[in-house]
């Protein structure tokens, strides 16, 4: 009986978490515009979605910004993590506290502070400012994924490579980089997902017709409900789900590796 109650409670919570999403997905296939009743299966909202120029533009910008910002953030962040790892304690503490700033700060404050900066520098809000903002909030997450891998490294390996005649650059490429690669890839995927998903910071740092999908959803939802958003939501949900499964596979593999090493 007690066991049943426990299971039932957990089931209720999952129902609470998933019911709205499932309803959203089901009604993206609903023929009528009304959300209340079901009037037949259709794909017309998806068809309309792909013919909506505004949404297609937003999709284009979302993907471009996510790809470019996560790649740039991964390069800068990985280099930064290697540098930070070798710093003395005080410098490390200072840099890490700045690194935690965008992670801890409310997104709205990060967003408006970047907006003020761009306008202060007389930059036109648009694609470039959106990209710069995404790189900025992505870098800390890359650093935080790479640093733990660096801490697991055996530092004598690098010295051994140098003793055997490798140049420092060659040793980095052949000895250090392969070992921290899982952290780098995790950071890249994390940055990509965060960029794909961001609303608040993008909302304040873009302009002149450049919008990502989140911004389009927000402006459409403010005007009322459209089944097109349901269709869009369904597609976005499925893609984030797929990405998450990939990321999760990776991290659980990493953890298994760690456990094996300790054993």
């Amino acid at each position: 009986m007690k066991d049943f109650l426990k299971r039932f409670y957990v089931f209720l919570i999952f129902a609470f978490l998933y019911a709205p999403i499932i309803v959203l997905i089901i009604f993206s296939f609903n023929d009528s515009k009304s959300r209340g009743n079901w009037s037949g299966f259709t794909l017309k909202w998806y068809r309309q979605l792909f013919h909506d120029q505004q949404i297609m533009n937003a999709l284009y910008y979302t993907i471009i910004v996510a790809v470019v910002s996560s790649l740039v953030a991964t390069v800068i962040g990985t280099a930064a993590a290697i540098g930070i790892h070798n710093m003395n304690k005080f410098k490390k503490a200072v840099i890490m506290n700045i690194t935690y700033l965008p992670v801890m700060n409310p997104d709205i404050v990060t967003g408006i502070s970047l907006m003020i900066l761009f306008i202060f520098l007389r930059m036109e809000l648009g694609f470039i400012t959106l990209l710069l903002s995404h790189i900025t909030f992505n870098i800390p997450y890359v650093i935080l994924s790479v640093l733990p891998k660096l801490r697991q490294l055996n530092k004598h390996m690098y010295e051994a490579a140098l003793d055997l005649g490798a140049t420092p650059l060659y040793a980095y490429r052949k000895v250090i980089l392969p070992q921290i690669m899982p952290g780098v890839i995790t950071g890249l995927l994390l940055a990509f997902t965060l960029s794909l998903d961001d609303f608040i910071i993008s909302f304040f740092t873009t302009g002149s017709g450049v919008a990502n999908l989140s911004i389009v959803v927000y402006s459409m939802a403010r005007r009322g409900i459209s089944p097109k958003i349901n269709a869009l939501s369904t597609l976005m949900f499925v893609s984030v789900l797929l990405l998450l499964i990939i990321v999760n596979r990776r991290t659980s593999k990493d953890n298994n590796g760690k456990r094996r090493r300790h054993a």
Partner: protein
């Protein structure tokens, strides 16, 4: 491995895009352009202390606190059940909690919009039982619901991870010494889970108190929170100075709550400083 220079691009980047912008916010909040140039002023902070704005601040804190409390009351039992024995495939269940966390929170909020609206699903279901349509949307309850829905996983996960690390032999020892299950919970399990509870509270309270999307979409602009106030200063009113002052107030609010939490949560402080 003494090549610190490779982190210099990052340091330069963060100075330009994190440190300078925050200093600009502080700068705008304490200056005003007058006929004889830029002058120092505290008028924007003074304006914040008017009853209208203090009310907004109190409303933000109260709604966030209510949501945090509800998340704790709903979430703690879930974490406790999942961490206990008797559940197979624990990792997949935890993953099920993680998935909504990764879904775009605008969509999660939008999903409730479609459920709660006047001819939405809930009202349709109610009408089958002969209940007249209720106005569920644009109420403070809808805002709290949106917050609880969005942030519940942030409460469950940290509590779960602390609970699942508790040494079972401690609990067995207490049972051997004659403690009943109530006593085991209040004297052993709950005190040991406090670090998780504290980080859960932090992780729910922070985004709840700073949100402007949930209150805008589910509150319909009637429930102005401090986030909405900031949003409005920058997107419609164009009063950057007041908006900056509000942002500084929000940062201070966050700093204070983090300071309070970290006093209870010594483990996380250590990891934050590496």
């Amino acid at each position: 491995m003494r090549k610190n220079w490779i982190s210099y691009p990052y340091i330069v980047w963060m100075i330009i895009f994190i440190v300078v912008p925050l200093l600009l916010v502080v700068f705008y909040s304490v200056t005003v352009v007058t006929d004889n140039g830029l002058t120092f002023t505290l008028e924007f902070y003074k304006r914040f202390f008017q009853p209208v704005y203090i009310k907004v601040l109190i409303r933000s804190i109260v709604l966030a606190l209510i949501s945090t409390l509800i998340c704790l009351l709903i979430g703690y039992p879930v974490a406790l059940i999942l961490a206990g024995k008797g559940f197979s495939r624990k990792n997949s269940l935890i993953l099920l909690f993680v998935i909504p966390m990764w879904m775009n929170f605008l969509l999660r909020t939008y999903a409730w919009l479609t459920l709660l609206e006047k001819n939405g699903l809930i009202n349709t279901l109610l009408s089958w039982f002969g209940i007249k349509p209720l106005s569920l949307l644009y109420t403070s309850e809808a805002v709290v619901l949106g917050m609880v829905y969005n942030f519940l996983p942030f409460m469950v996960l940290p509590i779960y991870s602390v609970l699942s690390k508790i040494d079972r032999s401690v609990i067995e020892a207490a049972e051997d010494l004659g403690a009943n299950s109530y006593k085991v919970f209040t004297k052993i399990i709950f005190p040991l889970s406090l670090p998780g509870v504290m980080s859960g509270i932090t992780m729910v309270f922070m985004p709840a108190v700073t949100t402007f999307v949930i209150s805008r979409l589910l509150g319909g602009g009637q429930f102005t929170l401090i986030g909405n106030l900031i949003d409005r200063q920058f997107t419609t009113v164009g009063d950057w100075n007041f908006g900056s002052a509000l942002s500084v107030v929000m940062m201070i609010l966050i700093l204070i709550s983090m300071a309070i939490m970290s006093r209870y949560d010594k483990d996380r402080e250590g990891s934050a400083l590496l």
